[in-house]
Amino acid sequence: MRHAARIFRAEALKQHRRVFGSKLVVFSMLIWPLLTLAQSYYTLRPLAATPGIAERWPLAADPERLLAFLATGALGFTFFFSLVQSAWHFTFERQTGTLELLFLSPANRLVVVVANGFGALVQNVWLFACFAVAGFTLFDVARVAHLGMYAVVFLALLVPAVAWGALLNSLLIFSRDAAFLYTLLDDPMWFAAGVRLPTFALPGWLRAAGSVLPLTGSLVVVRGALLDGRGVGELAGELAALAVLSAVLLLTAVAALRLGEARARRTGQLGLF
């Protein structure tokens, strides 16, 4: 555990120096999520005037609740997409030759990829998360069963996101051609996970595709806890599903790392870029 903690510290410093140390990063941490939130809000707000919308999607009939719905979506997306970005940055370690050095060291590979994702996540989301909490408080739109649900919300975002990041890092490390995931997991993830629209509005095939994304389950929990006032008991099914999905992601990451490293040791492709 002590070694793992040291690797977390080291990766956090590396992430800070490489990506988050610049003041301009505030554009991706806050300005960009705010702009996309505004775009979604002003695109969907006219729905409030649609006859019968209160029956079909009650939340859309209330502009403040609609904004809260979209803000939770943007918050969740910021969590998960920061890990896609982090994994993409990890691929640059091939070019710098440092990827081989990570694998030359005795550090546990899973700890390294989890620490890398965690370091990126914490440094990327804190600003928008603070902004979102401030917004919820200011507009008084949150309906929370009890204060402990804020911790549940945080964990429902953090744990699956870190598992997700570990998997992405594992895949992107071992295939120099896996950068297409970056494109695949941008707008499509936004769409399929129900960030902007409730998943019931999506066609069945897209709902099925979205169900394997941990962001989908996280948003169900976050919105249930923050917007509908549901407690742990009411969300137990969703939380259990999220825990199982996170475990599956981590186990897949372990398998990907093992297979990937074995393949790299056989083919020597770790040093190729």
Partner: protein, 309 residues
């Protein structure tokens, strides 16, 4: 001791290392020489656990890199030439601290060690400057310090002085020699053969992944069949002088500028100059060149495998 027995590595249909037996004891700098593509880097990466051999066995201090890779990684480190392999946006000190965490070097040990290593590679004053501000040589020196951060028992050096200025390369050679004196086992590949001659007590020569020869640099020169070369410069190369020289030894070569060259065993300088003088030639200069390790490597590489075996 690092030991490989019948080491073989294939990449698809290409055999990069073929039946290589190698020993790297503690307390000695061992050289691994060969032309480009000979299999040196592949061998080093196998020893560093970055590659897995197709067949044969490897032992690093009694540990099996296939079965006990993490234990092996704690005892080795690899330094490759070039300024890559460090993080450009981190300072020199931060880079060493970062890798120290990966190697789980205790904090009370790491702090003084980082300072000591930065001093060792002449980067103490630039310790808190971002690496992106470093010159190529400075980044390379940091890479060397990085390779020592876990105080490895065995150090694998793959062209470590590539691109370094002469004084820095000389300092590095001193460091490498000192490491061996302190009991470390060092395996060195280098294209600077003078460096190998100076540092290595024992050298392996490989070509196309095969073992060609081994021994001290002097033994390799002897094994290669290379001989000293005598160069006699004459004021005017008349037909009579040339004929006399060729009569002395059919292997005589006439180089541009009227230089008579002859390579061969034994001391032929005196006899050749006497022959030229007797034929009416006037001497302008005389040079006796001993065969170098470079001559030996080239000669060994040119010889058919069957002859070497």
């Amino acid at each position: 001791m690092i030991e490989t027995v019948h080491l073989r590595k294939e990449f698809g249909t290409k055999v990069a290392v073929h039946d290589l037996n190698l020993t790297v004891p503690l307390g000695r700098v061992t050289g691994l020489l060969g032309l480009n593509g000979a299999g040196k880097t592949t061998t080093i990466k196998i020893l560093a656990t970055l590659l897995r051999q197709t067949s044969g066995t490897v032992s690093v201090g009694g540990l099996d890199p296939v079965r006990q890779p993490r234990a092996v990684r704690r005892r080795i480190n690899l330094i490759a030439g070039g300024e890559r392999m460090v993080y450009a946006r981190m300072t020199g000190r931060e880079n060493l601290w970062y890798f120290g965490q990966l190697y789980d070097v205790p904090g009370r040990v790491l702090r003084p060690r980082v300072a000591e290593l930065l001093d060792l590679v002449g980067l103490a004053e630039a310790a808190d400057t971002r690496v992106e501000r470093y010159s190529r040589g400075m980044a390379q020196r940091l890479s060397i310090a990085r390779g020592l951060v876990n105080d490895p028992d065995y150090l694998l050096l793959d062209e470590p002085t590539l691109g370094l200025d002469a004084p820095i390369a000389r300092d590095l050679r001193r460091v490498v020699a000192a490491l061996a004196e302190r009991g470390k086992g060092v395996l060195l590949t280098s294209h600077y053969l003078a460096e190998v001659e100076q540092l290595c007590a024992h050298v392996y020569v490989i070509g196309d992944g095969r073992h060609l020869a081994e021994g001290t640099p002097a033994e390799l020169v002897a094994q290669s069949g290379c001989h000293r070369t005598v160069r006699v410069a004459v004021v005017e190369l008349t037909p009579r002088v040339e004929a006399a020289a060729r009569a002395f030894a059919p292997a005589v070569r006439i180089a541009p500028g009227g230089v008579v060259e002859l390579s061969g065993p034994g001391d032929v300088a005196g006899a050749l100059t006497s022959t030229i003088i007797e034929a009416g030639g006037a001497l302008k200069g005389l040079e006796i060149a001993e065969p170098t390790l470079e001559d030996a490597i080239l000669a060994l590489n040119d010889r058919p495998a069957a002859v070497i075996a």
